[in-house]
Symmetry: C2
Subunit: 193 residues, 2 copies
DNA sequence: CGCAACACTTGCAGGCCGTGCAAGCTTTAC
DNA sequence: GTAAAGCTTGCACGGCCTGCAAGTGTTGCG
């Protein structure tokens, strides 16, 4: 059975999704300046005030849900063998996560289209939680064997994230499979630039 | 002598700087929520409307001027030998530019302090012009010899930028010289992770 | 069932950001 | 000295976002 709490969570998630869809549809069909909170709320059949019970900002509704949450990433890293080199752990973990994209590729399409028309959307949204993501991973990587110092850890993290995002972006533009591009990117990093 | 246009430009730059200083001082002394456009304008002795003749947004006044402009970076890359490997060009250019930081370290201090208290400031400001910066460099790197494809170029750029920013951040936190950390970071990338 | 606790939605009021416009003022050009 | 060009400012307005309190549904329990 479904507990009342689960029920509430599910309905909430559904409504959040519905609002998002309305927002993106307006932004794509009528231009981003037409996607005001008022217009989105009307389309989603809620009051403008309620919109902010679901999203902390208008922008949040116009970008896709982040693919990775910090806690999840930390769990996955912790699940790797403790003596595995940090670089290989990052490689394995980001590969697992990136592959998940293939399953939701269809859902991502409108967001990708919108982002390509308005790059500032992705930039701002990304910066906010991506730096936090990298900071948390940085803390994990620091304590791995073979990591000689803080700058080493920083470079490992920033290069791995960069490779992952590059592969995803390139895959979106060229249509090549994410896995192949990801392997190519990490192989370059492994063998040296 | 000074042409009238130069004179105007200079006065404008001075005023911009003065407004910035007022903004950062308020944000540091009284908290960031006290740094409203109204308060900043009053402190800088201009009208709130005029504030927006100098800055497109309030945030712009609270972060430091970007260290690198795209055109400048492209010029510097173009000045490198055309047959130099892309990685070495990036290494040399970012090193030159990063060293410039040592000359303006003092001016940067308030901004660094403010950014450390409010990370979202740096995140948003950075994302906006940093992605544009990387896109332009990407185009240059793509046409360098030895760059085998788009993903190769992407990884080169994102890793180099990541290394540079890591070195700068680490230097700010640890006090070690930027050059040393930069060398260490690029050496890691060169030999492979 | 009935009632109390809880969660969700909404309106209202208000602060803040950012922009177009037009009026005034200062500097520059001839 | 006068016209053109640039800068500053006030005004009005639209849009984002928040706290608060009132209203409406939902849940849990006797």
């Amino acid at each position: 059975m479904e507990s009342p709490q689960q029920r509430r969570d599910r309905r909430r998630a559904e409504k959040r999704r519905a609002i998002r869809m309305a927002a993106v549809r307006i932004a794509l069909d009528e231009g981003i300046e037409a996607a005001t909170v008022e217009a989105i709320s009307a389309a989603a059949d809620i009051s403008p005030r309620t919109f902010f019970n679901y999203f902390a900002s208008k922008e949040e509704a116009l970008v896709m849900e982040p693919l990775w949450r910090p806690e999840e990433l930390i769990d996955l890293l912790a699940a790797r063998p403790a003596d595995e080199p940090a670089f290989q752990s990052l490689r394995a973990v980001t590969r697992d996560l990136a592959v998940r994209i293939n399953g939701i590729w269809g859902d991502m399409k409108p967001f990708i289209e919108l982002r390509s028309r308005h790059p500032e959307l992705a930039a701002k949204a990304r910066a906010a939680d991506e730096t936090k993501l990298m900071d948390t991973v940085f803390e994990v990587v620091r304590s791995r064997p073979g990591v000689t110092g803080r700058i080493h850890a920083r470079v490992l993290v920033v290069a791995s994230f960069g490779a992952t995002i590059s592969a995803i972006q390139e895959s979106q533009e060229s249509g090549e499979p994410v896995e192949r591009l990801l392997d190519e990117a990490f192989a370059l990093l492994e063998k040296g630039l």
